[in-house]
Amino acid sequence: MIEFTLNGKTVQTDEDPNTPLLWVVRDTFKLKGAKFGCGAGLCGACTMHIDGVASRTCIMPVAAVAGKSITTIEGLGSPENLHPVQAAWVEHSVPQCGYCQSGQIMSAAALLASNPNPTEADVDAAMSGNICRCGCYPQIKAAVMSAAGSLAYNAMKDDARDAEVQA
């Protein structure tokens, strides 16, 4: 039995420990936001946060995340409660086919959590692991820069910092 935290909730699975986390999250826990694009860690469509780090889950055996904390796009925000990165995505009307966008957003959110004021080069470096076949790159970059600048994002960071201090 492998136990880990999924979007804040402790879960267990008896799936084959070699099963990539992507398939456990999608098919066992029915969270379909993360997508399958290549199965080789090359395209980023499967990106989730593992202990806050953007990770390619199509090549991550579920055994390797025992005891860790996983956040998916569903844990980041929802249509009723958009994360500031998601709000920026909507404001800039970023998605086209949309299939890569969960992965893009997870990579962007991880970048901004550790680097709240990225340069364009920082964004390139953090996001170039995520392929967008529809070519939304200019809109994605604009949304990331705008999310970085947004007040809501800064406020959220402050809250998180306060919570950390109190803990």
Binding site: E15, D16, N18, T19, P20, W23, D27, K30, L31, K32, G33, A34, K35, F36, G37, C38, G39, A40, L42, C43, A45, T72, I73, E74, G77, S78, P79, E80, L82, Q86, W89, V90, S93, V94, P95, Q96, C97, G98, Y99, C100, Q101, S102, I105, V123, D124, A125, S128, G129, N130, I131, C132, R133, C134, G135, C136, Y137, P138, Q139, I140, K141
Partner: protein, 733 residues
Amino acid sequence: MNSMNMSRRRFLQASGIVGGGLVIGFSLTGCSTPKLPVENVAGSFLPNAFIQITPDNVIRFYCPRDEMGQGVTTGLGTLVGEELDVDPRHLDIAFAGPHEAYNNPDIGMQITGGSTSIHAHYTPLRQAAANTRRVLLDAAARDLGVARSSLTTEDGHIVSGGERHPYGKFVATAAKLEVPEDAPMKKATEFRYIGKDRGRLDAVAKSTGTAVYGIDIDVPGMHYAVVRRSPVAGARLKSVDKSAAASMPGVTDVVEISSGVAVVAEKYWQAKTAAARLEPRWEEVPLDKVDTATVKKDYRAAMTGDEGLTKDERGDIEAALSSASESIDNEYWAPYLAHAPMEPMSAVINIKDGQAELWAGTQGPAAAQGLVSRFADIAPENVKVHNTYLGGGFGRRATLTHVIEITQIAKATNKPIHLLWSREDDIRNGVYRPASLMRIKAGIDDKGVVSAWQAKRVGGNITPETLKNMMPGLFPGLGNGTINFMVGISNDLYKGWIVDGSSVEGLGEDYDFPNMQVNHATVEHGVPLTFWRSVGHSFTAFAKESMMDELAEKAGQDPIAFRLANTKDNPKLNNVIRVAGEHMKKMTPRPGRFLGFAAHSSFKTSVAEIAEISVDNGQINVHKVTCVVDCGLAINPDIVKTQMSSAIMFGLTAALYGELDLENGAIKQGNFNDYPMLRMNAAPQVDVVIIDSKEHPTGVGEPGLPPIAPAVANAVYAATGQRLRSLPLKLEA
């Protein structure tokens, strides 16, 4: 707050349907035509196939075209919202099921592609919405006991005196009235939504992981299937030891299907792991002996030989060529390409008690229905097809071999099935953009005008392949023998009698060319072919615009002036070139940066592009692309711009990296390590200028693609003095 999701929940509650299943049960005419695949909601008003209004004022739009990122649900939703007087954000948009009422008016079938959706539906959909608004006004006038002239409408409401009444209040009366056919539509000056920059209606769903794609569907009892297919297209299974997979954990079935052998298991990972253990053997086919070098050799032989057909000609090409002041003779090469949409092919099917239900993102839901009908031997009216968002189409999702596969697997195993192709399956077992060898002989007269243009293309044709893939679905009752016969005839037709337009489109249409000839010779090796974003234009524009650049230099003219002089008969393209030229004149690229220009018309839209590049250690870096487009009236300028940018990025991937190699008939590449895609760090800045036009809107999904490869190649010449005449663009050391 995404009102699309909210109103869908209300809609389902109103109809008493739990779980999202659709019920077929509403017939427009009551005669023997198939019933419309719309939701059966008590008391709702269905004035046409596209619009349904419930007593609770949920206003549903059955979108007839498939959303693959091109923004069609937003674009067509905007047309409906405009004439119906409903904010498009307040529409509940559903994907239409299979029915001839949802045929593409430009194509005559239920297919999304060819950059036709807005062009085809602009008038009929607005008319349907205007008719609906008119009958609602009539109904409201009756119910409220006032003159219709005293009423107005506002965002899904009738306004009478100071009071707002939801449309839904009047649907019972509306359903009894005759729906007019020609209610007046708005004048362009009255447009509230058309022509405005408005956010995409699917942005929230696609930014929260809540948009549903074919791969996301779950049905109870669903098993997962992975298929092993021949590395060489068309080779049938000779033998396989099924026990290697059958004994693996979770595996329930190992079945032979027409494309290979399928492993079915309780979990995807179990099916994938087990399938990898099979060692199938395949029959020999002629394609086994074909490498990329074979293709090039055979194309060359046909190029220099006499065979071929003429597609277009005017004037006296031979005389014009021999009397030209200057002439150039060049060959150009474009390789086989895969589409590589981010979502590999997938589908879910449930066949039970003589009924079938299929979920898949497709560019042709009617063809999907036909294929399930044919291969499950179930009448089409008992086959439900649910279209989903497509994780990329680009032409790939009009070929539905995965629907055939899943139907055969479900029939053989008697289980609900989820079929998923891997990325390797997608790149190696798919359908491809044809490879092309092109030759252009052109001459200029003493005034520097192109007086002679003779172009010949050698390669395979997509139309017979398209027929082979589409006919079984479109005509489920037609026997295999008949279909093969008809496909065979079309093959012969295109080889010996007429030219497949898709093979040469773009080579000769744009410029004045008083003496012109476009020729074609078919050479095929058995690689499956299909539409790929911008089709023939994706390779012809490269040859044509590279040659025009060389001719301009020979004529001693700048690329803009030269093209302007040769488009006197093409005012739309001439204007786009002129405007782009004005932008280009103002550009002052810094040292080490160089500009290249190209212009091309496709799908009724004219586009010019200026690429700004640098070359660094043999690597081509594209920093910025300026794009000028005339697509008639821009329904949503922001979407026009993002579609131009999208096509440019797609074309740039092809221009810089795109190449599939054949080795012993098999495609060598398999994933994004050896079939690279443009990534953010290599993506240029894109600026789009939309020509202000009130003309009937034309396509924007594809036209941005053809000019990018030649624009970059022409910039590379400016930077290095090297003329690159092969794709992908590779500099010599």
